[in-house]
Symmetry: C2
Subunit: 216 residues, 2 copies
DNA sequence: AAATATCCTGACCTATGGGTCAGGTTTTGG
DNA sequence: CCAAAACCTGACCCATAGGTCAGGATATTT
């Protein structure tokens, strides 16, 4: 009763406070980093959007860099997921379209991940280099191997696994990274479901036909 | 003789001085903006790289924003070139691979253009919106019309012209925007000619086969 | 209920970077 | 050769943003 906070929202456990605040900060940071990039994003802005005083944000994350790294790490997990769901025993006519679909869904539903990731790489990946060379690379090699196996089984033409993957990544992520450009060119406020469907269809079609993968 | 400058490099005309300095400044700015992005790039850094005092850079460009806009405008021209070389009377089995080749060449030889452009769009295109909605859009519509004509002539399957163009842009530009990622994943210092060739071949193949374009 | 750990925050410090300016030098035009 | 125009620049100004800190509030433990 002595204090507005505790009277309105009844006592919260400390662990809850911490969890809630961290979540809010990370969410706000993610949005702002995606929107403005690392150096244009200020801690005050993050604090404001998170509904906390600046000093409180600094209480949880000693530096802006720490906060950014944390956001990055979380997003890399997101970015990498689904890749390992393609395996050698699946036929590419199922596995590839499914992966493309998942990447497109992510571009639609979580554009921030791809955008922050893109900006980081564009500027030399100063904070992500390590993880790219370890985590992502391991998964990359595995996936290339899967493609390779598919080729050996004559399930697809002998194309370069590495470059096929690069192509799938870039063309699907374009639907978040360059969505603004696309929508400007097509006279829309933003991309709608039809656009994502059209993109999905086109990319799947090009990959399947281009790799000589027989439809069932 | 009274001064080191004039004694070493004999007198330069004023217009030359201006031209040289502008060139140096724009070049340095381009490199730094591409490398670090807009807000991480300082005028002092640009000046240093251009071999001029900071105040001299500010003499030519009143503000950092002016300089950035100038760089952007120059790069947009670069970025857009070649698109208008595809016309309705050409067969796509020639025109498309040629365009893809040109985009790939640009990714290799002038990666800065694509990178600065990408960063600008990623962050909401605050300085480029106008030109996207006028210049680029005009060219975009024309090119889509060309694709449309090809489809009408049964030279290619009825795919979405807009999304095909998005796909070509994103997959070719990836060879500059995400070159770092690719090289890290493939254990190289940087992409070499073979990589660009492999990318070119793969993208061309996917586009041609995917769009059902008959090779001659 | 007292002691302790965690959380919170306004006020403050400092470095940096964009931008100004006054006074200089060099080039040009007459 | 002289005046005007163009060019140059070290020193300065100031707003901002990252980060510190001391002291207070709240929660937990004993």
């Amino acid at each position: 009763m002595s204090n507005a906070k505790t009277s309105i929202a009844k006592r919260r456990k400390m662990s809850d406070i911490r969890k809630d605040n961290l979540k809010q900060i990370l969410l706000s940071a993610e949005n702002l980093f995606a929107e403005r990039g690392y150096s244009s994003t200020t801690i005050s802005a993050i604090a404001l959007q998170a509904g906390l005083p600046k000093a409180n944000v600094l209480y949880y994350f000693k530096t802006k860099e720490t906060l950014y790294k944390e956001v990055l790490t979380q997003l890399l997990v997101l970015w990498m997921q689904h890749m390992d769901e393609m395996t050698s025993d699946q036929h590419p006519n199922e596995a590839l379209p499914r992966y493309i679909l998942q990447k497109m869904k992510q571009s639609k539903q979580q554009p921030n991940a791809s955008r922050i990731f893109a900006a980081e790489i564009l500027h030399g990946a100063p904070y992500l280099r390590e993880q790219l060379q370890t985590d992502l690379k391991a998964q990359f090699i595995k996936t290339c191997q899967v493609f390779h196996d598919w080729i050996a089984k004559k399930w697809m033409d002998p194309i370069s696994p590495e470059h096929l993957l690069f192509m799938i990544w870039s063309s699907t992520q374009a639907y978040s990274d360059f969505a603004l450009q696309s929508s400007l060119l097509m006279d829309k406020d933003e991309l709608d479901d039809n656009d994502f469907d059209a993109g999905l269809e086109l990319i799947s079609r090009l990959v399947l036909k281009g790799c000589g993968i027989n439809l069932v």
